[in-house]
């Protein structure tokens, strides 16, 4: 068919809607006749004009029927075989700015965990007034068993001590800032370690182990902290979820059988020059019958935690009683978890080994547990991070060597072989820097992403390429 270009001067009736309260249009201005060949930019200009919102220059993006408007309006109408007379409902949101690559910090070994301390990060908020502006720090944990603290310009300020000096004796799998002076790490040596971080000036600092927490009998794959209550939540390959405190006084004694040197036959005697206190868990909940892969606090209620495991379940835990409140079973092993704050109950995003992200409503009252499926990754989704700005965006890191950013509002119904429910596709794909031009490796071989943190400072991701990669994180989605 001859492409039916809209004759010049054709107009389409559009209705502007939005879900954001601060940029609502008055009722009378919502319907408008616009030229048919208008694109996103023109629509954005119209909205920003004095007669409409009078906002100046906020770039807007437009959803039509659940997907972003990427063509001109009449092309959209044509491709969906709609007539020019039809009324188009445009949902406008603040526009996305691509997560531009900014920097990479080189490591000696695979980077297993990344965390950030900034004014907008949880640790910065927990620090309160103690956090000075500009004191942005990046924490990285590596498979060589060392923690490193970087400043924003990519210099290592502090490195943790090695295994023989009170550090981790094996690879670290997770690390988080508790505040600007305290951080926690956990790894394959089954311990959680709490470190005191002090800076003499802005270019050198010191990491001192203060506490060794014993309890898990398997590698600890995930660690979540709450700086206010000084609590740590861990998920381990032994199927247990650990709940710990960083306070030396309130922590119970550690199980002596788990301590190093407990058995005479143990080959490696850890001769630690720095003696850190050894403590046990507040609660160790062996609730999964397969490796637990992630545990997170409820964003609003710190006495509730959620954990996922390779046994396909998402469990809701009441931390005060250490009882599993509810169990949701999905169809795939779950490897990562992230709680997206939403209303009274968060929405849980769980990354699976089957290359997608399942959004789960953990409420018992929810009629459908699986809300949405995010498809696009080609390997295990091992880390998820919610947007610091809003509750619609999500970043995921996968062993396929990419980080993807998802907008949960962009939804389409699932096709037949995808099963039921609704499906979303990524808004942005962040490739690993340095693999450009190279042939795409099978299964992300050599470029796996192990951890990811999304802060307003940037999207920090670490992986098998021994780098922390920083991409622009601000205003990516709104």
């Amino acid at each position: 068919m001859e492409p039916r270009g809209a004759e010049p001067g054709a107009q389409v009736k559009v209705t502007f809607t939005t879900t954001e309260a601060d940029i609502q249009l008055p009722e009378t201005k919502r319907q408008l006749l616009v030229p048919a060949d208008i694109r996103r930019y023109g629509l954005s200009r119209i909205l920003n004009s004095e007669s409409m919102l009078d906002t100046g220059a906020i770039p807007f993006d437009f959803f039509v029927n659940g997907s972003f408007l990427r063509t001109s309006l009449d092309e959209y109408l044509q491709s969906n075989s709609l007539s020019l007379e039809s009324n188009v409902t445009l949902q406008y949101v603040r526009s996305l700015i691509p997560p531009v690559y900014e920097a990479s910090f080189e490591h000696d070994d695979w980077v297993s965990a990344v965390d950030v301390l900034s004014g907008s990060s949880p640790a910065g908020r927990w620090s309160g007034d103690a956090f000075q502006h500009g004191q942005d720090r990046i924490l990285s944990a590596s498979y060589d068993g060392l923690l490193r603290i970087w400043n924003a310009s990519g210099q290592v300020i502090a490195t943790s001590s090695s295994g023989s000096h009170g550090g981790h004796i094996a690879s670290i799998k997770a690390a988080k800032f508790l505040s600007n002076t305290q951080l926690a790490s956990a790894g394959m040596d089954r311990t959680v370690r709490v470190w005191k971080y002090s800076e003499s000036d802005h270019f050198s600092g010191d990491l001192k182990p203060t506490l060794e927490l014993y309890g898990h009998t398997g590698s600890i794959d995930s660690l979540e902290v709450d700086g206010q209550s000084k609590r740590i939540l861990t998920a381990s390959a032994d199927g247990a979820v650990g709940f710990w405190t960083t306070s030396k006084a309130s922590a119970p004694e550690a199980d002596s059988s788990l301590l190093p040197g407990a058995h005479l036959s143990k080959r490696r005697k850890v001769t630690s020059s720095v003696s850190a206190a050894q403590r046990g868990p507040l609660a160790l909940m062996s609730i999964h019958n397969a490796p637990a892969t992630a545990a997170v606090f409820d964003p609003r209620d710190r006495t509730v935690a959620y954990s996922v495991s390779q046994d396909h379940t998402v469990r809701t835990i009441d931390l005060t009683t250490s009882i599993v409140v509810s169990t949701l079973t999905t169809s795939h092993p779950l490897l990562s978890l992230c709680a997206i704050p939403r209303g009274t109950s968060p929405l849980l995003a769980a990354g699976t080994s089957a290359r997608h992200i399942t959004l789960v409503d953990p409420r018992v009252s929810a009629t459908t547990t699986s809300v949405m499926t995010l498809r696009g990754h080609t390997n295990k989704v091992v880390v998820l991070s919610a947007s610091p700005d809003n509750e619609y965006a999500l970043a995921s890191g996968s062993h396929d060597g990419t980080c993807r950013i998802w907008d949960l509002r962009s939804v389409r119904p699932a096709t037949k072989d995808e099963g039921l429910g609704s499906v979303s596709e990524p808004v942005y794909v962040i490739e690993r820097e340095g693999r450009d031009g190279k042939k795409k490796a099978i299964a992300g071989d050599g470029y796996k992403v192990f951890d990811l943190t999304w802060d307003k400072l940037g999207i920090f991701s670490g992986g098998e390429d021994k780098k922390i990669q920083i991409n622009r994180g601000r205003d990516i989605t709104i």
Binding site: S257, H263, K266, I442
Partner: protein, 777 residues
């Protein structure tokens, strides 16, 4: 009476004028009746023509009965007499005109002769003939009837005259008399037959159609032939006979002139010759001109077959049977030994032609030119033609079955999810081939052994190597197998003649688990030192259990078991106290069962039929399976007897695995076959699958409750099958190939050497000859 005479005279004149016509028609009655009418009526001339004609018509009707007779007869006496009288008057002229009539006729036709004999002037007899009666067929056309010459004017112009016109001689033709009033009235009432209402212009009488003319009109109207006399289908008169006479009337030989060259033609030829000689005619074109013309005339070739597509040979085509090549005895000059003896010839001739072994007799001709014509050529041709004629020409229909309908109804692979589909982690580190791979019972650690003599432990999901130990610098690690219980973390690895038992140093292993493992391994030392080793004195023990040395012990390798020959296969008993090793090259001691708790090695079989390939324990019962090259034997370990011999039919078994349920067996063979055995059903395979292009190296059932099994092959692929064993004993297992996993490179004709399933999830790891291990999920 006077009027009557007048009438009579007139009548005669009229008769005279049209005598031929009247006679010819044979219709005398009209005239007769008319004359009678006239006679009766007298001179009543005021009647018009119509009345007259009507009158006449009615009268003729009345006389119908007689008319037929009258018409055939000779003229009635009145007219006849008159005519006769006239003829007699004309006789002398006739006599002159008609001489020389055959005198014999007189005697013959004496009775009704048509001549009179008179005396002529000389007194001779003179025949005087009757007047010739000019009948219809007469050629005499001179005698014209009275023709009215008034032309094309209405007759009514003559109404006031007594005549109606003039004849050719200018004499008046008188109006015929008309009937009286009564007669005309009667006529007007009854229309006479043949009435036309028209007055004959020649006679002035009403023109009535005669019976004959009416008949003619009727015939024309009905589309019939106009004449009764005319035969529509007359016999063919063959004027020229169609029959070729055998003896022609003229059999004259060809005239001589036919054999002489034609002088005319010679003249024509000479004319041409002369013309050619003088150059007026060119007999052929000069070569240059012809060449030029040929060049000008572009030859147009049509490729009839340019659009023809190569058609596949007709499926019904059956090629003619190939005949054997001719032998010596078919030669025209065969060697002597092929020539038949006299008795043989006699015997051959005695036999019925159909019973003869061969339909010819070898004959010797000294030279090829002496060979006569093939005497049975005609007969052979005839028989061949007869065969073709009698051969059935109906095509036998072959089975017309859709091949797809013969395929078994298998569920779609998508319905059989989950199963591994893509490589998700690649474990790199081994130098050279990876020979064996195993996932530990918790599903977190992968152990592998390869050609570089190292055993390595890897984190499953990330592919991070967590531990490595070099067991041998020159020999490959042929097998690694985890002890299948979760309470320990013990790995067995075989390199060369040594089997090493080790507890990999893994930081995630809790000290308690580590200690438990070490304790189990060490327990046997006490047993051994207590002297319970059951070896006959003076006989070398089948294996030697020892500590491998401090260096290896630091790495976690705690026991070395040395047997006599290279160990290729290790398989643990499900409880973890026993493990079986197979060293195919060790004759008698190829299969050994080791007891971990006692550090004891036993050789269960004194003799094995064939080379042992692999061996395994039954997953639930005290049975032990040993595979030799061709068969798998099942022994009862308690009763120490042979229970069953499974014969997969493979030429060389490479590996087998027992279904966790215990009743099914998969066997992989080096001859590319994968065989599924139902042990309860038969000792022959239930299903044979040949999907690989190279040898199958390893087969493995999923042990975590998923109905999956897989095989690995030297073609670099792993094939995943869905193999569901139903609970109902009567049902057969469902076997569906679901996925071919490709990715491993084939290095020096070796592809994927080993694989293992995750204990719970549908994940598997494979060991490739390309030095990588891959996790598929």
């Amino acid at each position: 009476m006077a009027s009557k005479l007048v009438e009579k005279k007139r009548k005669v004149r009229v008769a005279e004028s049209e005598s031929e016509d009247e006679f010819a028609g044979g219709d005398f009655d009209g005239i007769l009746s008319q004359s009678e009418d006239e006679f009766d009526v007298g001179s009543d001339e005021e009647h018009d023509d119509d009345e007259e004609s009507a009158n006449e018509g009615s009268r003729s009707e009345e006389d119908d009965g007689d008319s037929a007779i009258l018409s055939d007869d000779i003229p009635s006496y009145i007219d006849g007499e008159e005519a006769m009288g006239k003829l007699i008057e004309d006789l002398p002229e006739l006599e002159i005109e008609e001489p020389g009539v055959d005198p014999k006729r007189k005697e013959n036709d004496d009775a009704d002769r048509n001549y009179r004999v008179e005396k002529d002037a000389n007194g001779n007899e003179r025949y005087v003939y009757d007047e010739i009666d000019p009948v219809y067929d007469s050629d005499d056309s001179d005698a014209q009837g009275a023709v009215n010459t008034i032309g094309n004017i209405p007759l009514s112009f003559y109404d006031s005259y007594p005549h109606i016109g003039y004849d050719i001689n200018g004499k008046k033709i008188m109006r015929p008399a008309t009937g009286d009033a009564l007669q005309s009235l009667l006529d007007s009432i009854e229309v006479p037959k043949g009435w036309t209402g028209v007055t004959d212009i020649n006679t002035g009488n009403p023109l009535n159609l005669s019976q004959e003319e009416l008949e003619l009109v009727r015939r024309v109207q009905h589309g019939l032939l106009t004449d009764d006399l005319q035969d529509p289908y007359p016999e063919t008169v063959e004027y020229f006979t169609s029959i070729e006479e055998k003896m022609p009337l003229s059999a004259a030989p060809e005239p001589k002139r036919r054999f002489l060259p034609s002088k005319n033609e010679a003249k024509q030829v000479m004319k041409l010759v002369r013309a050619i000689r003088e150059g007026r005619i060119l007999p052929y074109k000069p070569p240059e001109e012809r060449q030029r013309e040929e060049e000008e005339k572009e030859e147009v070739h049509f490729d009839l077959w340019q659009n023809e597509e190569a058609a596949a040979p007709n499926p019904m085509h059956i090629p003619a049977p190939k005949l054997p090549p001719p032998g010596y005895d078919m030669s025209y000059n065969p060697p002597e030994e092929y020539l038949p003896t006299k008795e043989e010839i006699e015997e051959w001739e005695k036999l019925d032609p159909e019973e003869r072994e061969k339909d010819y007799m070898p004959q010797k001709y000294g030279a090829l030119r002496k060979v006569p014509a093939w005497d049975t050529l005609v007969k052979e041709r005839f028989e061949r033609s007869m065969d073709l004629y009698l051969a059935p020409r109906v095509r036998k229909n072959r089975l017309n079955i859709d091949p797809n309908s013969l395929l078994p109804k298998l569920p779609s692979p998508f319905e059989l999810k989950p199963f591994p589909t893509v490589a998700q982690t690649i474990f790199r580190g081994h130098e050279g081939r990876v020979r064996s791979v195993a996932i530990d019972p918790t599903g977190l650690v992968v152990a592998s052994g390869g050609d570089d003599g190292t055993v390595r432990a890897w984190e499953l999901l990330t592919g991070r190597q967590v531990w490595s130990v070099k067991l041998s610098s020159d020999e490959a690690v042929n097998a690694v197998r985890w002890r299948p219980t979760k309470d320990t973390f013990i790995l067995a690895a075989a390199t060369g003649e040594d089997i090493f038992l080790m507890v990999p140093i893994h930081p995630s292993v809790a000290p308690a688990l580590d200690q438990a493992s070490r304790d189990i391994l060490a327990a046997g030392f006490g047993y051994a030192t207590n002297g319970h080793q059951q070896t006959a004195p003076g006989k070398e023990p089948p294996a030697k259990w020892a500590r491998p040395g401090a260096k290896l012990e630091d790495e976690g390798v705690l026991i070395r078991v040395t047997v006599r020959t290279t160990v290729k296969v290790i398989n643990w008993h499900r409880r973890g106290d026993h493990f079986a090793t197979v060293s195919p090259s060790g004759q008698r001691s190829s299969v050994a069962i080791h007891t971990l708790s006692k550090h004891l090695t036993q050789i269960p079989f004194r003799k094995l039929s064939g080379l042992a390939q692999t061996a395994a324990f039954h997953p639930s019962r005290p049975l032990f399976f040993v595979a030799t090259q061709r068969t798998i034997r099942c022994y009862d370990l308690q009763k120490l007897e042979l229970v069953k011999v499974v014969q997969p039919g493979a030429k060389w078994i490479s590996s087998f695995d027992i279904h966790p349920g215990g009743d099914n067996l998969i066997v992989g063979s080096y001859d590319k076959r994968l065989l599924w055995h139902d042990l309860d059903l038969s000792n022959r395979p239930y299903k044979t699958m040949r999907f690989h292009s190279e040898a199958i190296r390893a087969v493995r059932y999923h042990r975590g409750g998923l109905p999956l099994f897989a095989d690995t092959s030297d073609d670099g692929t792993i094939q995943i099958f869905h193999g569901k064993v139903p609970n109902d004993q009567l049902e057969h297992p469902t076997i569906v190939p679901v996925k071919i996993l490709k990715g491993h490179k084939v290095v020096s004709k070796l592809g994927v050497l080993d694989m293992d399933w995750h204990p719970k999830e549908p994940w598997c790891v494979s060991a490739g000859a390309d030095g990588t291990i891959r996790l598929w999920m």
